[in-house]
Amino acid sequence: MTARTALRALRRNKLRSALTMLGVVIGVGAVIVMVSIGQGASEAVRAQIQSLGTNLLMVVPGATTSAGVRSGAGGVSTLTREDAKAIAVECSAVSDVAWMKRQIGQVIQGERNWSTSIQGVSPGYFSVRDWSVEAGAVFGPRDEETANRVALLGKTVVDNLFGHGEDPIGATIRIKDVPFRVIGVLQRKGQTTWGQDQDDTVVIPFSTAERRVLGSQILGMVDLVFVSAARPEDVLVAVEQIGSLLRQRHRIAAGADDDFTVRSLNEMAIAQESASRVMAMLLLCVASISLLVGGIGIMNILLVSVTERTREIGIRMAVGAKRQHILLQFLVEAVVLSGAGGVIGVVLGIAAASAISMLAGWPTLISGVAVVGALLFSATVGIFFGFWPARRAAGLDPIAALRYE
């Protein structure tokens, strides 16, 4: 009954109702868009962490700081294949280990050539990095034992060495003038969080790299050890265990600088995820402010409306409206305005978020929680900002209201 009265009152002044609603429409729409952009961004970061490999740790030779001469991580080769094998055997928090020798070198196929990262890896590398082939197959322990000249190509290398429609599998390429047979193409992994193209690589067996391509004097030296922790919560334990094991193996006295560094790849990604979460919160705050402004707009219009309709309120009271009828009418008007504004805002917000992800290519994620939250919030805004004008209307003296000019 009172709802019908309120709806009639809103219909009587369509333009004003629409403009009042606009504040909430924009507010709710902004909240939806901001939240979906924020959540899309953190989802993208999560996906990136996944692409690095689950629970991945990296051990590089050389300390981040060493007394006297500062040599960057990886500057001195002190890490051996035996270290890597020992980590696999002795560290309980570690489930899998792989090692790598790498160098930048020229790769030639037919008329084309490309400078890329040549990586000699142990067979366990693909499972540690959670990386599989898109076509062909990975090499196995036999290729490692016999130092076979087989290679896997990253997508970027394929794009640069082969024309459109050419099948790289079975082709022969020359890596630093040594001929190799291509046996597989690795799946696209994209960039790391620090902007390195993970697909710009040629992967060959470790022993082949050591003996035939990268030609090091001392055998068994590695540039990089990949370790995967058994479970995500084991990452920190694994860092500890690896550290103490290597200090012991390298005979490093207590207090002396380590000649290796254990890095958790996830650290950076996690830092970026928390940064994107902060960003999402900021966006949400800004959007909430616009919703608040929309609510104040509703209150403002209702206050004007109460003054303007003083006489109408007096008439309603004269024909028998009780105070609660008047209070409810104005409250319902406020809630209908903000609620309808909320629904329209959600629809527009979802449309805008989809448009943004389509046009700008930003990842967006529309969450049900955000939609329901925005709707509830907008209805609350209506009740909150409608209450004062409604109480003012209900508190009018009928005689004064009837005489109001």
Binding site: M1, N13, E312, R316, M317, V319, R323, L402
Partner: protein, 243 residues
């Protein structure tokens, strides 16, 4: 109407004093008045004589500062604002000088207003509002907004609204004040007809003796007190005369 029936309105020593800061304004100073069911009473007086305050007290829009007011045998002087709202809804219809229709709202919806607050079912609201509009001869204009109606038509809609809940008492505050002579006569004819045919008690406030002459009883006010209370043979306003 039998002789033993109690009066519809019974005022005893009613005072209404407004306190405006330092000054006290006594709008009613001990008014005692009885009005029987079915009477047509004109309340006369200059402005400031207290006749409007009397109307507000009678209409339960205002409460007496002291004294007692019994409406249809019930003491209504000490009721809460919500209880008075319910009485206004069921027992009293108002007609104002400035019509007081809700703007941008159809005649039919204006007439439905008291039924809305009386908790009548929507279908019945429509039906009764139409019947009320028919009784004032405006059923064909039920969809018109007040701004599309003439003054006389607006006042008829107001009367239909006042009567739609079948109240015992119709209070009219200078109802012809904004109308020309011919339309005023039409309106008085309508009020006389409702009074005669449906037995509705009419209390009409006016400062024009011409208008008061159509009532069966004239109560004159001065300075918040009754100056005279005379019964008379009313002049007869016929709608066909006016037309």
């Amino acid at each position: 109407m039998t002789a033993v029936a109690e009066p519809l309105i019974e005022l005893r020593d009613v005072c209404r004093i407004y306190e405006l800061g330092e000054t006290r304004l006594a709008a009613l100073q001990g008014v005692t008045l009885e009005i029987e069911r079915g009477e047509f009473v004109a309340v006369m007086g200059a402005s400031g004589s207290g006749k409007s305050t009397l109307l507000y007290v009678l209409g339960c829009l205002d409460t007496p500062t002291s004294g007692s007011y019994r409406l249809a045998g019930r003491d209504v002087a000490g009721l809460s604002s919500d209880e008075r709202a319910a009485i206004r809804n069921r027992e009293i219809g108002f007609v104002f000088q400035s019509f007081n229709l809700v703007p941008r709202t159809s005649a039919l919806e204006n007439v439905e207003l008291p039924l809305v607050y009386g908790g009548v079912a929507p279908a019945e609201q429509r039906e009764r509002a139409r019947a009320a509009l028919r009784s004032v001869g405006l059923v064909d204009r039920d969809g018109s907004a007040p701004s599309q109606l003439s003054g006389g038509q607006q006042q008829r809609v107001a009367i239909a609204r006042a009567l739609v809940n079948r109240p015992a008492l119709l209070l009219a505050d200078e109802p012809t004040g904004n109308l020309d002579t011919r339309t005023s006569l039409e309106l008085l004819a309508l009020l006389q007809k409702l009074n005669r045919q449906q037995g509705i008690t009419v209390v009409l406030v006016t400062h024009e003796p011409d208008i008061a002459s159509y009532a069966g009883r004239v109560v004159t006010f001065r300075d918040g007190r009754t100056l005279s209370d005379l019964r008379q043979t009313p002049a007869v306003a016929r709608e066909e005369d006016a037309a």
